[in-house]
Protein backbone atom coordinates (compact mmCIF):
# COMPACT_ATOMS: atom_id res chain seq x y z
CA UNK A 1 0.00 0.00 0.00
CA UNK A 2 1.33 3.48 -0.76
CA UNK A 3 0.29 6.97 0.07
CA UNK A 4 1.31 10.52 -0.44
CA UNK A 5 4.27 12.50 0.71
CA UNK A 6 4.34 16.24 0.21
CA UNK A 7 6.78 17.55 -2.41
CA UNK A 8 8.53 19.58 0.24
CA UNK A 9 8.57 20.29 3.96
CA UNK A 10 10.60 22.55 6.20
CA UNK A 11 11.44 19.52 8.34
CA UNK A 12 11.09 15.80 7.77
CA UNK A 13 10.87 13.90 11.06
CA UNK A 14 11.81 10.26 10.69
CA UNK A 15 10.05 8.13 13.29
CA UNK A 16 6.50 8.30 14.61
CA UNK A 17 7.36 7.08 18.10
CA UNK A 18 7.28 9.20 21.24
CA UNK A 19 10.36 11.25 20.38
CA UNK A 20 9.34 11.76 16.75
CA UNK A 21 5.79 12.70 17.67
CA UNK A 22 6.96 15.16 20.32
CA UNK A 23 9.42 16.70 17.84
CA UNK A 24 6.72 17.04 15.20
CA UNK A 25 4.42 18.88 17.59
CA UNK A 26 7.17 21.15 18.92
CA UNK A 27 8.47 22.05 15.46
CA UNK A 28 4.97 22.72 14.16
CA UNK A 29 4.23 24.86 17.20
CA UNK A 30 7.30 26.91 16.23
CA UNK A 31 5.70 27.58 12.88
CA UNK A 32 7.56 25.06 10.73
CA UNK A 33 6.01 22.84 8.07
CA UNK A 34 6.59 19.24 9.15
CA UNK A 35 6.19 15.83 7.55
CA UNK A 36 6.53 12.73 9.75
CA UNK A 37 7.73 9.60 8.01
CA UNK A 38 7.62 6.11 9.51
CA UNK A 39 7.86 2.75 7.78
CA UNK A 40 5.02 1.47 10.00
CA UNK A 41 2.23 2.98 12.07
CA UNK A 42 2.35 5.31 15.06
CA UNK A 43 4.43 4.05 18.00
CA UNK A 44 5.16 0.84 16.12
CA UNK A 45 8.73 0.53 17.38
CA UNK A 46 10.22 0.85 20.83
CA UNK A 47 7.45 3.08 22.16
CA UNK A 48 4.93 0.25 22.02
CA UNK A 49 7.16 -1.85 24.29
CA UNK A 50 7.64 0.88 26.83
CA UNK A 51 6.04 0.93 30.24
CA UNK A 52 5.26 4.60 29.87
CA UNK A 53 7.55 5.82 32.61
CA UNK A 54 8.55 9.43 33.08
CA UNK A 55 11.37 9.25 35.60
CA UNK A 56 13.80 11.48 37.35
CA UNK A 57 14.66 8.81 39.90
CA UNK A 58 16.95 6.80 37.65
CA UNK A 59 18.87 9.74 36.17
CA UNK A 60 22.46 10.39 37.11
CA UNK A 61 23.20 13.89 38.36
CA UNK A 62 24.24 16.30 35.66
CA UNK A 63 22.93 16.87 32.16
CA UNK A 64 20.77 13.75 32.16
CA UNK A 65 18.75 14.61 35.26
CA UNK A 66 18.45 18.25 34.22
CA UNK A 67 16.96 17.24 30.88
CA UNK A 68 14.63 14.83 32.69
CA UNK A 69 13.40 17.52 35.06
CA UNK A 70 12.78 19.92 32.20
CA UNK A 71 11.01 17.19 30.23
CA UNK A 72 8.76 16.06 33.06
CA UNK A 73 7.74 19.68 33.54
CA UNK A 74 6.74 19.80 29.87
CA UNK A 75 4.84 16.54 30.24
CA UNK A 76 2.96 18.05 33.15
CA UNK A 77 1.91 20.95 30.91
CA UNK A 78 0.73 18.52 28.24
CA UNK A 79 -1.06 16.48 30.89
CA UNK A 80 -2.84 19.57 32.12
CA UNK A 81 -4.30 19.84 28.64
CA UNK A 82 -5.19 16.19 28.05
CA UNK A 83 -3.66 13.92 30.67
CA UNK A 84 -6.76 11.77 30.95
CA UNK A 85 -6.46 10.87 27.26
CA UNK A 86 -3.23 9.03 27.85
CA UNK A 87 -3.71 7.87 31.45
CA UNK A 88 -1.17 10.30 32.86
CA UNK A 89 -0.53 9.66 36.52
CA UNK A 90 1.87 11.29 38.93
CA UNK A 91 2.37 8.14 40.92
CA UNK A 92 5.90 8.51 42.28
CA UNK A 93 8.81 6.14 42.15
CA UNK A 94 10.45 4.07 44.85
CA UNK A 95 14.00 2.78 44.65
CA UNK A 96 14.85 0.13 47.24
CA UNK A 97 18.10 -1.13 48.70
CA UNK A 98 18.78 -4.69 49.74
CA UNK A 99 21.47 -3.99 52.31
CA UNK A 100 23.27 -1.21 54.10
CA UNK A 101 25.88 -0.81 51.39
CA UNK A 102 23.19 -0.18 48.82
CA UNK A 103 21.35 2.11 51.23
CA UNK A 104 24.46 4.25 51.61
CA UNK A 105 24.99 4.42 47.86
CA UNK A 106 21.35 5.37 47.31
CA UNK A 107 21.52 8.08 49.93
CA UNK A 108 24.58 9.58 48.27
CA UNK A 109 22.97 9.47 44.84
CA UNK A 110 19.81 11.08 46.16
CA UNK A 111 21.81 13.93 47.67
CA UNK A 112 23.52 14.61 44.34
CA UNK A 113 20.18 14.47 42.52
CA UNK A 114 18.65 16.89 45.03
CA UNK A 115 21.44 19.29 44.20
CA UNK A 116 20.08 19.36 40.63
CA UNK A 117 16.50 19.93 41.76
CA UNK A 118 15.09 16.45 42.22
CA UNK A 119 12.71 15.94 45.11
CA UNK A 120 13.68 12.95 47.23
CA UNK A 121 12.52 11.41 50.47
CA UNK A 122 14.76 8.97 52.31
CA UNK A 123 12.92 6.02 53.84
CA UNK A 124 13.95 3.39 56.32
CA UNK A 125 12.42 -0.10 56.41
CA UNK A 126 9.31 1.08 58.24
CA UNK A 127 8.92 4.01 55.91
CA UNK A 128 9.20 1.70 52.91
CA UNK A 129 6.39 -0.49 54.13
CA UNK A 130 4.22 2.50 54.91
CA UNK A 131 4.52 3.55 51.29
CA UNK A 132 4.33 0.02 49.80
CA UNK A 133 2.69 -2.37 52.27
CA UNK A 134 3.48 -5.50 50.29
CA UNK A 135 7.19 -4.95 49.89
CA UNK A 136 9.49 -7.63 51.32
CA UNK A 137 9.92 -7.20 55.05
CA UNK A 138 13.70 -7.55 54.99
CA UNK A 139 14.52 -4.48 52.91
CA UNK A 140 16.35 -1.89 55.02
CA UNK A 141 15.40 1.23 53.15
CA UNK A 142 15.06 3.21 49.97
CA UNK A 143 14.32 6.57 48.40
CA UNK A 144 10.96 7.89 47.27
CA UNK A 145 10.77 10.22 44.25
CA UNK A 146 7.42 12.02 44.12
CA UNK A 147 8.09 13.51 40.68
CA UNK A 148 8.07 10.18 38.80
CA UNK A 149 5.02 9.76 36.56
CA UNK A 150 3.49 7.20 34.24
CA UNK A 151 1.36 7.35 31.11
CA UNK A 152 0.12 4.99 28.40
CA UNK A 153 2.66 5.43 25.60
CA UNK A 154 0.59 4.46 22.57
CA UNK A 155 -2.28 6.69 23.60
CA UNK A 156 0.16 9.53 24.23
CA UNK A 157 1.73 9.20 20.78
CA UNK A 158 -1.72 9.08 19.26
CA UNK A 159 -2.66 12.30 21.04
CA UNK A 160 0.59 14.07 20.13
CA UNK A 161 0.15 13.18 16.46
CA UNK A 162 -3.48 14.33 16.50
CA UNK A 163 -2.41 17.68 17.94
CA UNK A 164 0.40 17.88 15.42
CA UNK A 165 -1.97 17.15 12.55
CA UNK A 166 -4.15 20.03 13.76
CA UNK A 167 -1.17 22.30 13.23
CA UNK A 168 -0.75 21.04 9.70
CA UNK A 169 1.79 18.28 10.22
CA UNK A 170 1.62 15.71 7.42
CA UNK A 171 1.87 12.02 8.36
CA UNK A 172 3.35 9.47 5.97
CA UNK A 173 2.94 6.31 8.04
CA UNK A 174 4.10 3.38 5.95
CA UNK A 175 6.86 5.16 4.02
CA UNK A 176 10.35 3.72 4.52
CA UNK A 177 13.37 6.01 4.19
CA UNK A 178 15.64 4.89 1.35
CA UNK A 179 18.29 7.58 1.13
CA UNK A 180 19.08 11.24 1.53
CA UNK A 181 19.97 13.72 -1.15
CA UNK A 182 22.53 16.30 -0.24
CA UNK A 183 23.73 19.49 -1.88
CA UNK A 184 26.95 21.12 -0.74
CA UNK A 185 27.18 18.88 2.29
CA UNK A 186 23.68 19.81 3.40
CA UNK A 187 20.59 17.62 3.34
CA UNK A 188 18.25 18.64 0.54
CA UNK A 189 15.69 15.84 0.29
CA UNK A 190 14.65 12.50 1.73
CA UNK A 191 13.86 9.68 -0.66
CA UNK A 192 11.20 7.27 0.62
CA UNK A 193 9.22 4.34 -0.74
CA UNK A 194 6.32 6.74 -1.22
CA UNK A 195 8.30 9.38 -3.06
CA UNK A 196 10.82 12.14 -2.40
CA UNK A 197 10.33 15.04 0.00
CA UNK A 198 12.51 18.10 -0.40
CA UNK A 199 13.55 19.10 3.09
CA UNK A 200 15.18 22.08 4.73
CA UNK A 201 16.14 19.86 7.66
CA UNK A 202 15.69 16.30 8.87
CA UNK A 203 15.21 14.98 12.40
CA UNK A 204 16.29 11.38 12.89
CA UNK A 205 14.07 9.98 15.66
CA UNK A 206 14.13 6.39 14.49
CA UNK A 207 14.93 4.86 17.87
CA UNK A 208 17.08 1.74 17.74
CA UNK A 209 17.11 2.04 13.95
CA UNK A 210 18.57 5.56 14.06
CA UNK A 211 22.03 4.28 13.21
CA UNK A 212 20.67 2.64 10.09
CA UNK A 213 18.67 5.72 9.10
CA UNK A 214 21.66 7.98 9.72
CA UNK A 215 23.74 5.85 7.39
CA UNK A 216 21.09 5.99 4.68
CA UNK A 217 21.16 9.76 4.91
CA UNK A 218 24.94 9.93 4.63
CA UNK A 219 25.54 10.61 8.31
CA UNK A 220 26.60 8.56 11.30
CA UNK A 221 25.07 7.72 14.67
CA UNK A 222 26.35 4.98 17.01
CA UNK A 223 23.01 3.72 18.31
CA UNK A 224 22.59 0.00 19.09
CA UNK A 225 19.46 -1.89 20.16
CA UNK A 226 19.54 -2.95 23.82
CA UNK A 227 16.90 -5.57 24.46
CA UNK A 228 14.59 -5.64 27.44
CA UNK A 229 11.96 -8.10 28.65
CA UNK A 230 8.64 -7.44 30.36
CA UNK A 231 6.24 -9.85 32.05
CA UNK A 232 2.60 -8.80 32.34
CA UNK A 233 0.40 -10.24 35.05
CA UNK A 234 -3.31 -10.93 35.17
CA UNK A 235 -5.46 -8.03 36.35
CA UNK A 236 -5.28 -7.68 40.13
CA UNK A 237 -6.90 -5.65 42.86
CA UNK A 238 -4.78 -2.59 43.68
CA UNK A 239 -1.53 -3.88 45.18
CA UNK A 240 1.43 -1.78 44.26
CA UNK A 241 1.08 1.96 44.34
CA UNK A 242 4.24 3.25 42.72
CA UNK A 243 6.90 2.22 40.29
CA UNK A 244 9.24 0.20 42.47
CA UNK A 245 12.69 -0.92 41.47
CA UNK A 246 15.93 -2.19 42.88
CA UNK A 247 18.77 0.23 43.41
CA UNK A 248 21.10 -1.70 41.15
CA UNK A 249 18.91 -0.70 38.18
CA UNK A 250 21.11 2.29 37.55
CA UNK A 251 24.20 0.08 37.49
CA UNK A 252 22.65 -2.10 34.81
CA UNK A 253 22.07 0.94 32.63
CA UNK A 254 25.63 2.20 32.77
CA UNK A 255 27.43 -1.08 32.54
CA UNK A 256 29.07 -2.03 29.28
CA UNK A 257 29.14 -5.70 30.14
CA UNK A 258 28.01 -8.19 27.53
CA UNK A 259 26.29 -10.25 30.20
CA UNK A 260 22.52 -9.88 30.31
CA UNK A 261 21.65 -7.58 33.18
CA UNK A 262 18.51 -8.20 35.22
CA UNK A 263 17.06 -5.99 37.88
CA UNK A 264 13.54 -6.07 39.29
CA UNK A 265 11.13 -3.32 38.29
CA UNK A 266 7.48 -3.64 39.29
CA UNK A 267 4.62 -1.29 38.68
CA UNK A 268 0.89 -1.24 38.27
CA UNK A 269 -1.19 0.04 35.39
CA UNK A 270 -4.62 1.60 35.05
CA UNK A 271 -5.81 -1.64 33.52
CA UNK A 272 -5.06 -3.48 36.75
CA UNK A 273 -2.17 -5.56 35.44
CA UNK A 274 1.35 -5.37 36.82
CA UNK A 275 4.34 -4.81 34.55
CA UNK A 276 7.45 -6.65 35.68
CA UNK A 277 10.91 -6.06 34.25
CA UNK A 278 13.73 -5.64 33.55
CA UNK A 279 16.65 -6.83 31.53
CA UNK A 280 19.34 -5.32 29.34
CA UNK A 281 21.43 -7.11 26.75
CA UNK A 282 22.89 -6.61 23.31
CA UNK A 283 21.49 -9.29 21.00
CA UNK A 284 20.71 -7.28 17.92
CA UNK A 285 17.00 -7.35 17.10
CA UNK A 286 16.24 -10.89 18.28
CA UNK A 287 12.56 -10.91 19.19
CA UNK A 288 12.46 -14.34 20.78
CA UNK A 289 12.29 -13.88 24.55
CA UNK A 290 14.78 -15.74 26.70
CA UNK A 291 13.16 -18.01 29.28
CA UNK A 292 16.32 -17.81 31.35
CA UNK A 293 16.01 -14.04 31.59
CA UNK A 294 12.27 -14.15 32.24
CA UNK A 295 12.99 -16.59 35.04
CA UNK A 296 15.53 -14.27 36.62
CA UNK A 297 13.19 -11.31 36.38
CA UNK A 298 10.36 -13.34 37.87
CA UNK A 299 12.51 -14.52 40.76
CA UNK A 300 13.77 -11.04 41.60
CA UNK A 301 10.28 -9.57 41.45
CA UNK A 302 8.88 -12.27 43.72
CA UNK A 303 11.74 -11.61 46.14
CA UNK A 304 10.86 -7.92 46.18
CA UNK A 305 7.13 -8.60 46.60
CA UNK A 306 6.53 -12.08 48.03
CA UNK A 307 2.81 -11.55 47.57
CA UNK A 308 3.34 -11.97 43.82
CA UNK A 309 4.55 -15.57 43.84
CA UNK A 310 1.15 -17.05 42.97
CA UNK A 311 0.01 -14.24 40.70
CA UNK A 312 -0.32 -15.44 37.11
CA UNK A 313 1.61 -14.03 34.19
CA UNK A 314 -0.47 -13.60 31.05
CA UNK A 315 2.19 -12.63 28.55
CA UNK A 316 5.72 -11.47 28.00
CA UNK A 317 7.28 -9.25 25.37
CA UNK A 318 10.60 -7.71 24.41
CA UNK A 319 11.55 -4.23 23.31
CA UNK A 320 14.68 -2.63 21.94
CA UNK A 321 16.03 0.46 23.64
CA UNK A 322 18.14 2.78 21.49
CA UNK A 323 21.46 2.67 23.36
CA UNK A 324 24.21 5.25 23.00
CA UNK A 325 27.86 4.38 23.77
CA UNK A 326 28.20 6.75 26.74
CA UNK A 327 24.62 6.31 27.98
CA UNK A 328 23.66 9.92 27.25
CA UNK A 329 21.10 10.72 24.55
CA UNK A 330 22.28 11.92 21.15
CA UNK A 331 20.45 15.17 20.45
CA UNK A 332 21.76 17.66 17.97
CA UNK A 333 23.33 18.12 14.54
CA UNK A 334 25.09 15.31 12.73
CA UNK A 335 28.87 15.71 12.67
CA UNK A 336 29.10 15.97 8.88
CA UNK A 337 25.74 16.35 7.16
CA UNK A 338 24.33 19.85 7.50
CA UNK A 339 20.63 20.10 8.34
CA UNK A 340 20.50 16.56 9.74
CA UNK A 341 19.61 16.48 13.43
CA UNK A 342 19.53 13.39 15.61
CA UNK A 343 17.09 12.81 18.47
CA UNK A 344 17.89 9.34 19.69
CA UNK A 345 19.94 7.20 22.05
CA UNK A 346 17.57 7.62 24.99
CA UNK A 347 17.96 4.01 26.07
CA UNK A 348 14.83 3.30 28.04
CA UNK A 349 14.20 6.92 28.96
CA UNK A 350 12.83 8.12 25.65
CA UNK A 351 9.23 8.44 26.74
CA UNK A 352 10.07 10.67 29.68
CA UNK A 353 12.67 12.68 27.79
CA UNK A 354 10.61 13.17 24.63
CA UNK A 355 9.22 16.69 25.17
CA UNK A 356 12.55 17.95 26.53
CA UNK A 357 14.30 16.46 23.51
CA UNK A 358 11.75 18.00 21.17
CA UNK A 359 12.23 21.42 22.78
CA UNK A 360 16.01 21.17 22.43
CA UNK A 361 15.83 19.99 18.83
CA UNK A 362 13.48 22.83 17.94
CA UNK A 363 15.80 25.42 19.49
CA UNK A 364 18.85 24.01 17.71
CA UNK A 365 17.09 23.66 14.40
CA UNK A 366 14.96 26.78 14.29
CA UNK A 367 17.30 28.99 16.27
CA UNK A 368 16.57 30.08 19.78
CA UNK A 369 17.91 29.75 23.28
CA UNK A 370 18.41 26.05 24.06
CA UNK A 371 16.50 25.30 27.28
CA UNK A 372 19.32 23.04 28.49
CA UNK A 373 23.02 23.01 27.68
CA UNK A 374 23.23 21.14 24.36
CA UNK A 375 26.93 20.29 24.56
CA UNK A 376 26.70 17.02 26.57
CA UNK A 377 24.14 15.67 24.10
CA UNK A 378 25.88 16.69 20.90
CA UNK A 379 26.31 13.69 18.59
CA UNK A 380 29.60 15.17 17.42
CA UNK A 381 31.08 14.39 20.85
CA UNK A 382 31.53 10.81 19.70
CA UNK A 383 33.93 10.35 16.87
CA UNK A 384 33.58 7.78 14.20
CA UNK A 385 36.58 5.50 14.28
CA UNK A 386 37.99 5.35 10.76
CA UNK A 387 37.60 1.89 9.24
Amino acid sequence: MTGDVPAAADVVVIGAGMVGAACALALASAGLGVCVVDRAGPAAGTTASGEGNLLVSDKLPGPEVRLALRSIGLWQELADRAGARFEFERKGGLVVAHDDVQTAALTELAAAQRHDGVQTELLDGTGLRAVEPHIAASLPGGVYYPQDCQLQPMLAVSWLLTEAARLGVRLALGADVLAGETANGRIAAVRTTWGTVAAGAVVNAAGPWSGLVAERLGGWLPVKPRRGHILVTEPLPPLIRHKVYESDYVDTVITDSDEPQCSAVVEGTRAGTLLIGSSREFVGFDRRPSLSILGRIAARAAALFPVLAGVRVLRSYVGFRPASPDHLPLIGPDATVGGLYHASGHEGAGIGLAPGTAELVTALLAGGQPPVDPVPFAPARLSQVPA
Binding site: E234, P235, L236, P237, L308, R312
Partner: protein
Protein backbone atom coordinates in the same frame (compact mmCIF):
# COMPACT_ATOMS: atom_id res chain seq x y z
CA UNK B 1 -35.41 -21.07 35.70
CA UNK B 2 -35.45 -23.67 33.02
CA UNK B 3 -34.14 -27.03 33.94
CA UNK B 4 -31.54 -28.05 31.46
CA UNK B 5 -30.11 -31.19 32.97
CA UNK B 6 -31.12 -34.48 31.43
CA UNK B 7 -32.68 -36.83 33.95
CA UNK B 8 -30.05 -39.26 35.10
CA UNK B 9 -29.80 -40.87 38.51
CA UNK B 10 -26.42 -41.34 40.13
CA UNK B 11 -23.97 -39.86 42.62
CA UNK B 12 -24.32 -36.18 43.34
CA UNK B 13 -22.23 -33.55 45.05
CA UNK B 14 -23.51 -30.54 46.92
CA UNK B 15 -21.78 -27.20 46.85
CA UNK B 16 -22.39 -23.61 47.83
CA UNK B 17 -22.86 -20.88 45.30
CA UNK B 18 -23.67 -17.30 46.10
CA UNK B 19 -25.41 -18.16 49.37
CA UNK B 20 -27.35 -21.17 48.13
CA UNK B 21 -26.63 -24.89 48.48
CA UNK B 22 -26.93 -26.63 45.12
CA UNK B 23 -26.37 -30.14 43.82
CA UNK B 24 -24.90 -31.56 40.66
CA UNK B 25 -23.95 -34.99 39.32
CA UNK B 26 -20.53 -36.07 40.54
CA UNK B 27 -17.90 -35.46 37.88
CA UNK B 28 -19.55 -32.31 36.53
CA UNK B 29 -17.44 -29.28 35.90
CA UNK B 30 -18.45 -26.19 37.80
CA UNK B 31 -19.87 -24.74 34.58
CA UNK B 32 -22.04 -27.79 33.99
CA UNK B 33 -23.10 -27.78 37.63
CA UNK B 34 -24.18 -24.17 37.50
CA UNK B 35 -25.86 -24.54 34.11
CA UNK B 36 -27.70 -27.60 35.35
CA UNK B 37 -29.10 -25.43 38.12
CA UNK B 38 -30.28 -22.86 35.63
CA UNK B 39 -27.49 -20.40 36.38
CA UNK B 40 -26.13 -18.88 33.19
CA UNK B 41 -23.91 -16.10 34.50
CA UNK B 42 -21.49 -16.07 37.38
CA UNK B 43 -19.16 -13.21 36.67
CA UNK B 44 -19.33 -9.48 36.02
CA UNK B 45 -16.81 -7.84 33.70
CA UNK B 46 -14.54 -5.22 35.24
CA UNK B 47 -14.95 -2.51 32.70
CA UNK B 48 -18.56 -2.63 31.58
CA UNK B 49 -20.08 -4.54 34.49
CA UNK B 50 -21.76 -7.08 32.20
CA UNK B 51 -22.75 -10.62 33.19
CA UNK B 52 -20.77 -13.53 31.77
CA UNK B 53 -20.81 -17.30 32.09
CA UNK B 54 -19.96 -20.11 29.71
CA UNK B 55 -18.72 -19.23 26.24
CA UNK B 56 -16.24 -21.56 24.56
CA UNK B 57 -16.73 -24.45 26.95
CA UNK B 58 -13.28 -25.93 26.31
CA UNK B 59 -10.97 -23.71 28.29
CA UNK B 60 -9.44 -21.13 26.00
CA UNK B 61 -11.69 -18.08 26.31
CA UNK B 62 -11.47 -17.46 30.08
CA UNK B 63 -14.98 -16.02 30.11
CA UNK B 64 -16.33 -18.55 32.63
CA UNK B 65 -14.08 -17.40 35.49
CA UNK B 66 -15.30 -18.22 38.96
CA UNK B 67 -13.75 -18.12 42.43
CA UNK B 68 -13.49 -21.51 44.15
CA UNK B 69 -12.50 -22.11 47.77
CA UNK B 70 -10.54 -18.86 47.81
CA UNK B 71 -8.74 -19.42 44.52
CA UNK B 72 -9.46 -16.52 42.21
CA UNK B 73 -10.43 -16.51 38.53
CA UNK B 74 -10.55 -20.22 37.83
CA UNK B 75 -12.11 -21.57 34.61
CA UNK B 76 -15.46 -23.10 35.57
CA UNK B 77 -15.50 -25.28 32.46
CA UNK B 78 -12.22 -26.97 33.41
CA UNK B 79 -12.59 -27.60 37.13
CA UNK B 80 -14.66 -30.48 38.46
CA UNK B 81 -16.96 -29.57 41.33
CA UNK B 82 -16.37 -31.32 44.64
CA UNK B 83 -18.50 -31.79 47.73
CA UNK B 84 -18.64 -28.68 49.93
CA UNK B 85 -16.96 -26.45 47.39
CA UNK B 86 -17.43 -22.77 48.12
CA UNK B 87 -18.04 -21.20 44.73
CA UNK B 88 -18.44 -17.48 44.28
CA UNK B 89 -18.94 -15.09 41.42
CA UNK B 90 -15.54 -13.96 40.20
CA UNK B 91 -14.20 -10.46 40.52
CA UNK B 92 -12.51 -11.08 37.18
CA UNK B 93 -9.09 -10.53 38.67
CA UNK B 94 -6.45 -12.68 40.23
CA UNK B 95 -5.61 -12.51 43.89
CA UNK B 96 -2.32 -11.95 45.63
CA UNK B 97 -0.94 -14.58 47.98
CA UNK B 98 -2.06 -14.31 51.54
CA UNK B 99 1.49 -14.40 52.92
Amino acid sequence: MTRTRMREPGATVSFRYDGAVLTAPAGSTIAAALLGNGILAWRTTRRRGEPRGLFCGIGYCYDCLVDVNGAAAVRACQVVVSDDDDIRPSSSTGRPDAG
